[in-house]
Structure formats: structure tokens, C-alpha cells
């Protein structure tokens, strides 16, 4: 079933590639239908998932390149389930949301989006390190194309920066993966890249620290952890709306997912040891992203920096290594995907109408687009983490978790809660409130039915998760427990056995 999830979008991409390019309407519909099909599969998965188990479920293991020990291994647990669900929700909306804005090369745009969806699913589901790495890198290709072909004026710079920055860091991870493989052959006597098999190794702390550092670098660039964040504003600013949505909602989560997935399994001692450092960077990111957001003049850059701040919260929750913190991080990944995805869609709505992302070009929009104002308000409040919206549940749990690990982490983190209100309300006021001051008021027409259709599920999720987050929390609880159990494993002071 998991393989269907990966294969369906890829097959869809192939199918779309066969449709003549002139039939844009058909292409759009097929693209949407395929992504909705994936959503149905994901929904089924969500229901069929057994919340009581912290193990991998629906796991499939097939040898792929047996000579090298590479296998096709996929599986889902409470950690990946939430992100798979988020992926399945976001892609149809991103596709639908770009019906109005992408008018050139619709065919290849749809192909890129669908192959991206397949790769993102693969990243979240892979249990084999090489398979994971393949999907992890495969994500870059369609994304770089999305930026470079449908992006803004500085798109080539942004695309190349995005590609090189993230890939340079990932290559380091590849080296670490190979090192794990070699160690596995020595310690376990088995040629394998299987995550769960490699996780049975007990590595000495020094080796763990180096390998974890390599993994962490790749993940940290993706998150992005301060100060490795500068590719993000450029990529976001230049990417088309759909690209920004996917980038913020899903690609950044690959980084935080990587920390939660691989950190505890492969490096149960290095992760806790580096937690204070991660927390410190996370807190700097929270505060720094928030303060810098306040000074932005470009809406997309502002949201990009707000992502740095919000992802800082996720990292803080992970670094807290408490049940509340980790649960909060997981749910906050979903929340950030929903809220920030929606924020980028909102900027997209404005951009489609006036072709400007500058805050100064707007003002008093609420009077022209009252329905849009309601949507924007709700999404903004969710991003501010107001109780009753999804953002609150996540930030509350994260800060509670952080508080238990270190009071100061929480005290500093709470500062981010204040600052997020400062910059988001400021931006909202500049754009929506005040006297009518938009540069092209005649173009700011009310949201269309299609656009409302895009936002409706997101708004519904914002309230649903805000009021009743239990279905999500229940499903991730056992997996988080399993993660923490691994970390409690007594450290075995066994020296690395050498062959011969």
C-alpha cells in the first residue's frame, strides 16, 4: 500500500507526460485527480494505522541491488504517518491553487509537481538508507526546476543556490551512510543499508558523534537551522506559489523528520549529547527569524523568515527530548505545513492579482476583499499560535517539553511567541488595514470560488487540529514513546571490534 503511495504520483507524472501539451485543461484535471487519489490512499492509511503500536507498519522489504545490500524497504510509523498525511493534503491544494497562476508549460509543471509528490512520499516512507538518500536527492530536481522555470526575476540564482546548498550538505550525509554500511559489515557481518538492521549496532560515542554530525548537517540545512538558512528566503521569494507552498510545507519538514527518524535510531547517544547545541541554535533561530521578519518589505521573504522562526520551535521540541516536546514537534510540523502553506497561498492570491509581493504596494485590502480578509485573519492567527487554532497545540506542547528540560529554553522560546505576534500582525495591518492604499485597487477582486475551495480544507484543518488534536497525537504517541525508549538504552562501553 505504501508503494502505491509512492508509485501513484510517479505514474501520474508519466501519464501527464504522454498527454499533448495543448490540452492544458485535461492535464490540470489529471494532475489534480492523481494527487487526490494519493490523498484517498493516505486517508485509508491514516484509518488503518494502528495507534497502539510504535513499530513500523505496512512495511515492505524487497531486495533491490542485493550485491551491495541495497534494498527497497518502506514502512510507516507514527512519526512518518503525520507527514505522509500532510503531503497528501498539501499537493492537491498546491496544484489547484496554481491553476490561475501557472499558464505556461502547464504540462511540465504538472509533471514536476507529481514527481515531486512521489519523491516526498518516498522520503518519508523509506527505511533503507540508500533508498532514502535517492528520494531525498530526487526531491531537489523537480523543485529546482520549479524555481528555475516558473520563478521570479532572480530565479536562476535562487535555484542554483537552493540546489547546491542543500546538495553539498546531503553529500556529507551520503558519506556517513556509506560509513554506516561499512561499520555494519564489520559489526553485524551483513551487507545492508536497512535502517532497522543498522540501528541494532552499538557504536562508540566518538564514531556516533562524527556520523551524527554529517547527518545533522544535511538535515540542518534543510530545516533550515540558523545560520544555514539563507537559501530559504531566496528560494521562497523566487519560487512560484505552488513551489513555495511545497517548499515550506513539506521540504523543510524533511529536515526535521530526518532528525526525529534517524537521530534516535542510529545515534542514541550523540543525539542527547548534542541536544543543548541544537536547542541553542533553535532558540537563536526562533528569535532571529522573528526579529528579521519584522524588517522585511517583501511578503514572501517575511514568511520565509517566519518559517525559520517556526521551524526553530520544532527543533526546540526535538532537542527537549521529552514526550511533550517531541509530540509537539510532530504536530507542529503538520501545523506549520498547514499555516505557512496557507500563508504562501495567500500571498499567491495577492500576487496573481497585482504581480507584487511588496508590502508597501498594499494597504486597506480588507475593504476590497472581505472574504479574503477572513481567510487571511484565520491563517495569520494560526501562525501566531492562538488557542483554538492548530498552532497553539504544537507550540504549547513544545514549550512545555522545553520547560521540563531546561527552564531557560522555554523562557527564551516564549519570547518567540511574543515576537511572532509582532511581525505577523504588523504585516497583516500593513496589507489589509488602514485606508485604501493599494497600488492597483481595481485588480484586487474578491477571491474566486476555486480559491475558496483551496483554502477551505486548510481553514478546516486549522480549527480541527486546534480544537481536537487527539487523533493526531494518539497516532504519534507510541512512536514517540519508542523513540524515547531507544534513548534510555543503557550506553554500552564496548570498543569497536576490528576485523581480523
Amino acid at each position: 500500500m505504501l508503494s502505491v503511495l509512492i508509485a501513484l504520483p510517479l505514474a501520474g507524472a508519466l501519464l501527464v507526460a504522454l498527454i499533448p501539451r495543448e490540452r492544458e485543461e485535461t492535464i490540470r484535471r489529471v494532475g489534480l485527480a492523481v494527487s487526490l487519489g494519493a490523498l484517498v490512499v493516505a486517508a485509508w492509511l491514516f484509518r488503518a494505522f494502528d495507534p497502539a503500536s510504535g513499530e513500523m507498519q505496512f512495511a515492505v522489504r524487497v531486495p533491490w541491488i542485493p550485491a551491495l545490500g541495497i534494498g527497497y524497504a518502506v514502512g510507516v510509523d507514527g512519526i512518518s504517518l503525520l507527514l505522509v498525511g500532510l503531503t497528501a493534503v498539501i499537493f492537491p491544494l498546491a496544484l489547484l491553487g496554481s491553476w490561475g497562476s501557472i499558464t505556461e508549460q502547464v504540462k511540465w509543471f504538472t509533471v514536476a509537481m507529481l514527481s515531486l509528490e512521489g519523491a516526498v512520499f518516498g522520503t518519508f516512507l523509506a527505511l533503507d538508507l540508500i533508498l532514502f538518500y535517492v528520494f531525498w536527492e530526487a526531491v531537489l530536481i523537480p523543485m529546482a526546476f520549479l524555481i528555475a522555470l516558473w520563478g521570479g526575476p532572480a530565479r536562476r540564482y535562487a535555484a542554483i543556490k537552493f540546489f547546491l546548498y542543500t546538495m553539498a550538505a546531503s553529500v556529507v550525509m551520503l558519506v556517513a551512510i556509506l560509513a554506516l554500511h561499512v561499520l555494519g559489515r564489520r559489526l553485524l557481518g551483513e551487507r545492508t543499508f536497512d535502517l532497522e538492521v543498522l540501528a541494532t549496532m552499538v557504536l562508540p560515542p566518538g564514531v556516533q558523534a562524527w556520523l551524527f554530525a554529517a547527518f545533522a548537517l544535511a538535515f540542518a540545512v534543510k530545516v533550515p537551522v540558523w545560520p544555514l538558512h539563507t537559501w530559504l528566503p531566496d528560494a521562497h521569494t523566487e519560487a512560484p506559489t505552488a513551489g513555495s507552498v511545497i517548499l515550506a510545507a513539506l521540504l523543510l519538514k524533511m529536515g526535521t523528520y530526518g532528525f526525529v527518524r534517524f537521530g534516535p535510531m542510529l545515534f542514541p547517544e550523540a543525539l542527547p549529547a548534542s541536544a543543548p547545541l541544537l536547542a541553542a541554535l533553535a532558540i537563536v533561530g526562533i528569535l532571529y527569524g522573528a526579529v528579521v521578519s519584522w524588517a522585511q518589505t517583501d511578503l514572501k521573504r517575511l514568511i520565509a523568515f517566519s518559517s525559520v522562526s517556526h521551524l526553530g520551535f520544532v527543533m526546540l521540541g526535538i532537542a527537549s527530548l521529552t514526550e511533550q516536546g517531541l509530540q509537539g514537534s510532530l504536530i507542529q510540523m503538520v501545523n506549520h505545513g498547514i499555516s505557512t502553506g496557507a500563508l504562501f497561498l495567500i500571498v499567491g492570491v495577492l500576487y496573481d492579482r497585482t504581480h507584487s509581493r511588496q508590502i508597501a504596494d498594499y494597504g486597506g485590502v480588507a475593504a476590497l476583499m472581505p472574504r479574503f480578509a477572513v481567510i487571511f485573519t484565520i491563517v495569520m492567527l494560526s501562525s501566531v499560535a492562538l488557542p483554538g487554532t492548530n498552532g497553539f497545540v504544537g507550540e504549547f506542547l513544545i514549550l512545555l517539553g522545553a520547560f521540563q528540560t531546561s527552564t531557560w529554553w522555554a523562557v527564551l522560546g516564549v519570547g518567540g511567541v511574543i515576537l511572532s505576534a509582532v511581525y505577523l500582525l504588523w504585516a497583516y495591518q500593513q496589507v489589509m488595514h488602514g485606508p485604501q492604499a493599494a497600488r492597483h485597487p481595481e485588480r484586487l477582486v474578491e477571491v474566486t470560488r476555486r480559491e475558496v475551495l483551496v483554502f477551505a480544507p486548510l481553514v478546516a484543518l486549522i480549527f480541527l487540529i486546534g480544537v481536537y488534536p487527539k487523533p493526531l497525537l494518539d497516532r504519534s504517541e507510541a512512536a514517540v514513546q519508542a523513540v524515547l525508549n531507544r534513548l534510555d538504552r543503557p550506553a554500552m562501553a564496548e570498543p569497536l571490534r576490528r576485523p581480523r
Binding site: 539563507t230 519584522w294 524588517a295 475593504a367 485573519t377 504549547f396 495591518q429 485606508p435 488534536p469 497525537l473
Partner: protein, 633 residues
């Protein structure tokens, strides 16, 4: 039977405004304009009626003086590890009193709003917000655990933000809404930390369990938790140093100022301290802070109110000042007295605001007292209502404010006897006199003398606005009976069952000379009124020289914040975003990129394009490799 009424009625009370919110919010555009207000008032009334029903059922269940707490679990809300939060409500005397005030005053103000907002093009949005506020406020007062309480706490802040900025096309209104939200957030952050602390120490967020568990906390934990929660309360209740948002909040529609920024939401901070009375009463050091902050705020705000020109701002500072009294009440370990003042203040301050709104309504949004005057004749009912409210505020017997304020002062004096710290009492007494001065000034400048702009033709408000004012006027006159000992002080007895049990050491202390204190209070009020009368008779407004400027500039606190926090903050943000982020961090990244590019540029020179050079390279390479092998052999 009573039990069922309580268990069904209490959640139902919350459902009503939610229904109104949804109706106005979703169908708003399609409803006839008049329907919005009627629906909204209807649900607010229904909510009030339900609360009354629950209250009477509660009286039936609980014996006269003993307080019983009914927890009403709703559903499992969220859980992670040992944290399990149940969405649960709580019925006890404190919650009932608050719900009745919110429901009752809320209902009256909804009705008033029908008239006030009659000319608004989209009243449905206004009423939707107002209903949402009632829901949030009722949730706040009826919540059974701290997290749910915090939800209500934040939601009322949201409604405040939305309603202050209701006329969002006015930049001042939009900015004021934002300021309110952000300043409140600062308090909320501290509040949240307090919640964390309690959870980590006690492992629960349930209010009843916290009440029980407080005794097991260490002194330091209690002190810290109490101070953090109090910091949250200073934000919501506009106490020093987080008071700056409330005067700006007057940019909102006046009924909103009456409901949210006078009668209900701003008292949430007082309510929270009462809600966690066990925690505060067993943390004496924190209580002293509460009392001192309250007393200082009361004094500070009253002096500032002396020199404001905007009638609503005078009332806003008056609210800050009166909230200060309530915190004094809490701080001197007299929570029942504080809640009593909260109730009577809700009556008379709402009345004052509604009367001010009626003035604005009549004068086409003019609220600057320098442009008013002589309104007593055309607006007789409004003027009458305002004067009643003013007398109650000034603390003239037998109006409501007299009883409640005097009770707090009495407790403050007792606190002085116990601890030797008479500052809260002294400041409270001085403030009482100042209060009488500024409200007398407001009455005289607004209603007496010749009109400042004779051209205006003010007209009295429609009955739909006058009736709520009449109701509040009656309450402002008679409300004192709720806590007056001559009437048996039913409110205090009702609350004491819950709150009075832990008054730390108050019983053992010597009794204050009640008669003397009473006389002093009355004397202060009358003296203040006399001074006000002499200074402002005939709409004169002496500027008080340098002191006047100091007061007019609000002790320069707002300016200080602007200079010391906001401006440097923005400068820092711009510096970080520009030179630092783009220059240093991104500069480093681009430097790496450029460095590699330069390396490539050097390597490029090897590609000369001359095939023979490449061939030579191949030859040399071959020779070298072969030579290496041969030597190794």
C-alpha cells in the same frame, strides 16, 4: 434535578453565543441588517438567562454558605505522556458571579449596540465578534483547567484585537488593536510559563487539583508561579508596566470599550488571581507585589486621568486605576472584596462608557472634551446616567462604588495593621480623592456650561440605547447592597465560602476602626469633588503647569517604551535583516560560492583548446605512470 440543570445549563451557556457567532459570521451578509443585532442580543440574553438558571439551581444544591465545586468534564482534549488535558468546566460561586456579570452586562451592551451601530454598513461582522467575545469570556470564567482558561484568555484578547480594530480603515484603530494584542502577548508569555511551572510541579492543569496540590509546593515555586501568573494578569488587566494598550484601545466602538475594556475582559486578571486564590494567598511575598503594583497603578492612572482631553481616555485611565484597586484587594488577601469591586465597577463603568457613547452618537463621533460642553440640556437622560456613574465611581454613598471601594480600603488598612505596610492604603485613599477630582472634571467639561461648538445639534439617543443605560444606572445605585453589611452582604457571603477560607492570618489581626476609615473615604471623595468643582466650574480647565504636562504625557511612560524598546527593536531588526543576514551570513555563503567559482576559473586555464597540448599532457601522464610502475617493480 438541580444537578442536571447545572450540568446541562453550564455548557449550554457557552453554546448560545457560539451559535450567534456562527449565525452572524456565516450568514452575516445574507441577513437583513437589523437581524444581526437582534440575533446577537438574543443569544447573549439566552446565555444570561441560562447562567441565572444555573445559579439558582446551584443555590438549591449548595447549602447557604458552603461552596461546592462542580467539575463538568466535556471531552479528552489533548495528551502527551503524563500530560492529559481534559476540556472541563467548573461551577462554583466565583465562576457563577463572573458569568452573571459577563452575561448580564454583556446582554445590555449588545442591546445598546443595536442602536449604536445602526448606521454601520456591516453590523453582522461587529455582532459576530461581540458574540465570540461573550463566548470566550464565558469560557474563561467557566473553565475547569488552566489550559482551557488560557484558551479563553487568549480568545478574549483576540476579540479585543478584532473589535478595537473594527474600523480597520483608520490607521489609529488598526495600530491600537495590534498594540493591544502584542502587549497582552507579553503578559500571556509569562502566564504560560506560570502554567508550565504548575504543571511540572504538580503534574496537572486541573484547577481543582491545583487547589488541592498547592500545599505541596515549595515556597519558591509558589512565589514564582504566582508572580508569573500575576505578570500575565498585568497584561490583560492593564496594570503597570503593561497598561499602555488600554487607552489606545478606545479607538474601538464605544460599546466595545464598555464591555471589553471596562466591565469584563480587563478584569480577567483579577479573576485569575481569585481563581488560584490558594496559590496566591499562600505566597505572601507575591501578594505584596500584587498589592503594591495595584496601588501604584491606581494612583498613577488616576493622576493621568486628570489631564486627558479625550473623554473615553479619561474613562480608560479610570478603568486602569479601578483595576488597580481590585489588585490591591487581592494583594491584601481580600479576594471577595476585590470581586465585589469588580462587579460594582462593571456596572458603573459600563454605564459611564455607554453614556460617553451616547455623547459620541449625539455629537457625531466628537469625544474631545474641549469641543463638548453644555450637553446636560439636550441629552438629559444621558447626562443623568453619566452623573450616576460618576457618583458611583467617586465613591459617594450610597452608590455601588462606595461600598466596594471602601471595603477594599478597609482590608488594605487591616493589611497595614498586620504587616506595617500602609502604602497600599495610603495610595488608595489619595487615589479616591483624585478619582473624585477627575470624574468631576469630566462631568463639568462635558455637560455643563455653554457648548464649545454651538453649531452642533445634539440629539438624545434612541430608546434601545437608553434602556440598557437605565438598567445599569439602577445597578450602579443599588449594586452596593450586594456587599453592604446592612443588606447582609449576600455577594460576599456567597464568595467567602470559596475564597474566604484561606485569608492568611487576617482573622487574628486587630480589627481596623471601620467607622473612622469609612469617614475618611467619604471625606476623600467629597473633598475631591469639591476641588474638582472649584477648579473646573464653568468649563475652566487649568493646565497645572509642568505637572500638567507630565500628566498629559502619561508620565512619559509611552514615550519611554517607544524610545527604549520599539525604536531600538526596529533598528535591530533592520540591521539584522540587512547588513547582518544579507551581508554576514549570506555573504559567507556567497563567499564560499565565489571562492569555488574562482578556483574553477583558475582550473579553466588548463583548457587551452590546443589539441597538441592535450596530447602532450597524455604523453607525459603515460610516461609518469609507466615510470612509477617500473620503478616500483
Amino acid at each position: 434535578m438541580n444537578d442536571v440543570v447545572i450540568r446541562v445549563g453550564w455548557p449550554l451557556m457557552l453554546v448560545w453565543p457560539l451559535v450567534g457567532w456562527l449565525a452572524n459570521g456565516l450568514l452575516g451578509g445574507r441577513l437583513p441588517r437589523t437581524a444581526s443585532g437582534i440575533i446577537a442580543s438574543g443569544v447573549a440574553g439566552a446565555s444570561f438567562a441560562t447562567a441565572l438558571l444555573v445559579a439558582s439551581a446551584y443555590r438549591g444544591v449548595a447549602a447557604a454558605d458552603a461552596a461546592v465545586s462542580f467539575p463538568i468534564p466535556l471531552f479528552d482534549w489533548l495528551g502527551a505522556g503524563r500530560l492529559t488535558v481534559e476540556a472541563s468546566l467548573l461551577v462554583d460561586p466565583l465562576a457563577l458571579v463572573m458569568a452573571l456579570v459577563v452575561g448580564g452586562v454583556g446582554f445590555l451592551i449588545h442591546v445598546y449596540s443595536i442602536g449604536y451601530m445602526a448606521d454601520d454598513p456591516h453590523p453582522s461582522r461587529y455582532f459576530a465578534y461581540l458574540n465570540l467575545f461573550v463566548f470566550a469570556m464565558l469560557l474563561l470564567v467557566s473553565a475547569g483547567n488552566l489550559l482551557l482558561l488560557f484558551v479563553g484568555w487568549e480568545l478574549v484578547g483576540l476579540c479585543s484585537y478584532l473589535l478595537i480594530g473594527y474600523w480597520f480603515d483608520r490607521p489609529a484603530a488598526a495600530a491600537a488593536g495590534r498594540k493591544a494584542f502584542v502587549v497582552n502577548r507579553i503578559g500571556d508569555a509569562a502566564f504560560l510559563l506560570g502554567v508550565f511551572l504548575l504543571f511540572v510541579a504538580l503534574g496537572t492543569l486541573d484547577i481543582l487539583e491545583i487547589r488541592e496540590g498547592v500545599a505541596t509546593l515549595s515556597g519558591a515555586e509558589r512565589r514564582l508561579a504566582a508572580l508569573l501568573l500575576f505578570a500575565g494578569a498585568t497584561g490583560k488587566s492593564a496594570q503597570l508596566p503593561l497598561h499602555i494598550w488600554l487607552p489606545d484601545a478606545m479607538e474601538g466602538p464605544t460599546p466595545v470599550s464598555a464591555l471589553i475594556h471596562a466591565a469584563t475582559m480587563v478584569t480577567a486578571g483579577v479573576f485569575v488571581i481569585a481563581r488560584l486564590d490558594r496559590l496566591f494567598l499562600t505566597a505572601p511575598e507575591a501578594l505584596v507585589v500584587v498589592a503594591m503594583v495595584g496601588a501604584l497603578t491606581a494612583f498613577f492612572a488616576a493622576t493621568v486621568a486628570l489631564r486627558q482631553h479625550d473623554l473615553k481616555r479619561v474613562l480608560a485611565y479610570s478603568t486602569i486605576s479601578q483595576l488597580g484597586y481590585m489588585f490591591v484587594g487581592m494583594g491584601v488577601a481580600a479576594p471577595s472584596a476585590a470581586i465585589f469591586h469588580l462587579v460594582s465597577h462593571a456596572f458603573f463603568k459600563a454605564l459611564l462608557f455607554l453614556a460617553a457613547g451616547s455623547v459620541m452618537h449625539a455629537m457625531h463621533e466628537v469625544i474631545d472634551m474641549r469641543r463638548l460642553g453644555g450637553l446636560a440640556r439636550p441629552l438629559r437622560q444621558t447626562a443623568g446616567g453619566f452623573v450616576i456613574g460618576a457618583l458611583a465611581l467617586a465613591g459617594v454613598p450610597p452608590f455601588a462604588g462606595f461600598f466596594s471601594k471602601d471595603l477594599i480600603l478597609e482590608h488594605a488598612f487591616a493589611f497595614g495593621l498586620r504587616t506595617g505596610n500602609y502604602l497600599p492604603y495610603a495610595l488608595g485613599l489619595v487615589t479616591a480623592a483624585v478619582t473624585a477630582v477627575y470624574i468631576t472634571r469630566a462631568v463639568l467639561l462635558t455637560f455643563s456650561g455653554p457648548p464649545a461648538e454651538p453649531g452642533a445639534r445634539p440629539h438624545e439617543a434612541p430608546p434601545v440605547m437608553l434602556w440598557p443605560m437605565a438598567a445599569l444606572a439602577v445597578l450602579s445605585v443599588t449594586g452596593g447592597l450586594l456587599g453592604a453589611s446592612v443588606a447582609g452582604a449576600p455577594l460576599l457571603r456567597f464568595l467567602d465560602g470559596l475564597l474566604g477560607l484561606v485569608e492568611s492570618g487576617a482573622e487574628a489581626a486587630p480589627h481596623p476602626p471601620a467607622g473612622l476609615l469609612l469617614g475618611l473615604s467619604v471625606a476623600a471623595a467629597l473633598a475631591g469633588m469639591l476641588v474638582g468643582w472649584r477648579a473646573h466650574r464653568g468649563r475652566r480647565d487649568p493646565v497645572l503647569g509642568r505637572v500638567g504636562v507630565f500628566l498629559e504625557q502619561r508620565w512619559y511612560i509611552d514615550a519611554l517604551y517607544d524610545r527604549a524598546i520599539v525604536a531600538p527593536g526596529h533598528t535591530l531588526a533592520r540591521w539584522l535583516a540587512g547588513p547582518f543576514d544579507l551581508g554576514v551570513i549570506d555573504g559567507a555563503v556567497n563567499l564560499v560560492g565565489r571562492g569555488l567559482g574562482a578556483l574553477g576559473g583558475q582550473a579553466r586555464r588548463l583548457q587551452t583548446g590546443y589539441a597538441r597540448q592535450y596530447a602532450l599532457g597524455v604523453l607525459i601522464g603515460t610516461v609518469l605512470i609507466l615510470g612509477y610502475w617500473m620503478l616500483r617493480w
